[in-house]
């Protein structure tokens, strides 16, 4: 069982393209592959795989409901709430501001009379789908919900139950370097950092590699659109060297963009394209390494 995190910091560098296509290539090489779309704020892997996803489970978070009969109006929950999501007027039952509540459950634990109940709040959902021989598990947080980390966590925990049945698990991470990136990283044994040869790609790559280094993960940097005149190719090689990461270049290939627009994986639509050839090298490297 090998768990591969696909991240890289900057948005739009091709994380999902790499994750989806590498997953299919690994499956074509005869392995059982699970793809986990952990970019719960903007999940798109189901579109890239051209499949109808099916909802498996709702993700709920703790949401306080105050029992007016039990509440003694002591104000402890109001005082302790770290998000200031509970407000109170003298001698009134506290009022919850749902937009601010992060569902940490502190109010539930500090209430001296057990007046706070869990009403539960739907914050997202977990989906499954299957196409091109790979299984997809995908999490999505509902719009306007702050608790994306809870949905990431629920998605990863849900997916973990299936890990045993697969030889390769590819996790498509969100952009940035936040908790949504860290959750997959600490469960992985190799990371792929997708970047592009621009100054923006370079500065975000550095932050991502800092994180994979901290997680003590071997990391392969994928320099996507390697031949665009981005001016930062040298810097990226230097950063990768600094963090002991190997580099694979994927050339700019309009066919990859075309596949993306047509909602079909490039490895299926243009198996002989230059872009796909480079991705095959990456999947071979992963097979050899792991």
């Amino acid at each position: 069982m090998n768990v591969i995190s696909v991240g890289g910091g900057k948005g739009g560098t091709g994380k999902s393209t790499i994750a989806v296509n590498v997953a299919i290539l690994l499956s074509k090489a005869g392995y059982r592959v699970l793809l986990v779309d952990a970019d719960v704020e903007s999940p798109i892997d189901h579109i890239m795989l051209g499949l109808e996803r099916k909802k498996q489970k709702s993700v709920t978070a703790f949401s306080p409901k105050i029992n007016a009969e039990k509440c003694i109006r002591c104000g402890v929950c109001i005082e302790k709430c770290p998000e200031h999501a509970l407000i109170g007027l003298t001698n009134r039952v506290p009022i919850l501001l749902k937009d601010l509540c992060e569902g940490c459950k502190l109010c539930f634990f500090v209430c001296p009379v057990g007046a706070i109940e869990d009403e539960g709040r739907n914050i997202g959902a977990i989906y499954e789908g299957e196409n091109y021989g790979i299984k997809l598990i995908q999490g999505e947080v509902f719009s306007g919900i702050k608790q994306h980390v809870n949905v990431s966590l629920a998605t990863i925990r849900y997916a973990e139950k299936f890990f045993e049945g697969y030889e390769f698990i590819v996790i498509d991470s969100p952009p940035g370097t936040g908790a949504g990136v860290w959750l997959p990283l600490i469960r992985s044994n190799i990371a792929i950092a997708v970047t592009e040869p621009t100054p923006l790609g370079a500065s975000d790559l550095k932050r991502y590699l800092y994180l994979t280094n901290k997680a003590k993960l071997r990391t392969i940097t994928v320099l996507n659109k390697a031949d665009i005149p981005g001016g930062a190719k040298k810097i990226i090689y230097k950063i990768a060297e600094e963090f002991n990461s190997s580099i694979i270049e994927v050339p700019y290939d309009p066919l990859l963009m075309n596949a993306y627009v047509n909602e079909k994986p490039a490895v299926i639509m243009y198996p002989d394209s230059e872009g796909v050839k480079a991705l095959m090298k990456l999947s071979e490297l992963l097979i050899n390494e792991l």
Partner: protein
Amino acid sequence: MERPLEIVVASGKGGTGKTTVSAFLLSFFSLSNYDAIGVDADVEAPDLIIALGKYKEIGKEEVIDSPIATINYNRCVSCGECLNACQFGAIEWMSKPVIISELCEGCGVCEVVCRYGAVKYSYVKTGDIIIQDTKYGLVIMGQLEIGRKHSGKLVEMLKERARKYTKNNSIIIVDAAAGTGCPVISSIVGSDYLIIVVEPTRQSIRTASKVIEIGRHFKVKIGIVVNKWDLNPDFKAKIEAWADEKKVEVLGYIPYDKSVIEAYVNMSNLLDFAPKSKATEALINIYENLVDVLRREGYLK
């Protein structure tokens, strides 16, 4: 103006061109004699100043405001209460409960449920607030400590700082992070106008729809900018139908143009580097449409 006009640029999916649009708006508002102030709210991947050309750091402030739980193992009896109570998966069992600081929200639940007084909180660095001076005005940027949470909190602080620098003709442009999460919500709350930058793909439209919902929720007026539209020209009709259905205005279309990347490479601003490029022309048009909308809504005179 009693308070500065605040415009947020967001996208949902990453890499659609938020920073390019934000930088351009800053430069154009500045050239039109507004006091343009940028806020780089993409605190996990701050790039706005790179897109503005030359910059100079004129101030830096360390923010130490992230509470993190630590366990005193002399007191801990490994009962596991904290692990069961934590709603964020920040405590894992590794023969004893261990705090994963990268996931700790600092909410205080573990301290409350521990009957042995084994959990204590300490405040660690959240990140930095850096004030940069650029040719086209000040940029307040945030840099979240790598792996730290509380990005929303840092974004709120950035916006507060920006408001301190405002004059009577200030316009604040907030370059938001990718996604639809906490830092994006913090960017949108309290602002006047939301620009969503999309690409001509279903993947982009889908995530942008979620940003529209957030904007609606906070009663912010919304406009759409379609970047690299000619990479998939057949999609234009779909975008127009989508914008109609969502009742949002399309501010304009930017063609794919290599000058945008070339400007970055040359550490220059698009407007300075390629004033006559197709992208610049499209962005000027978008700027004009935006100003019309802002006048119509009464935000600008």
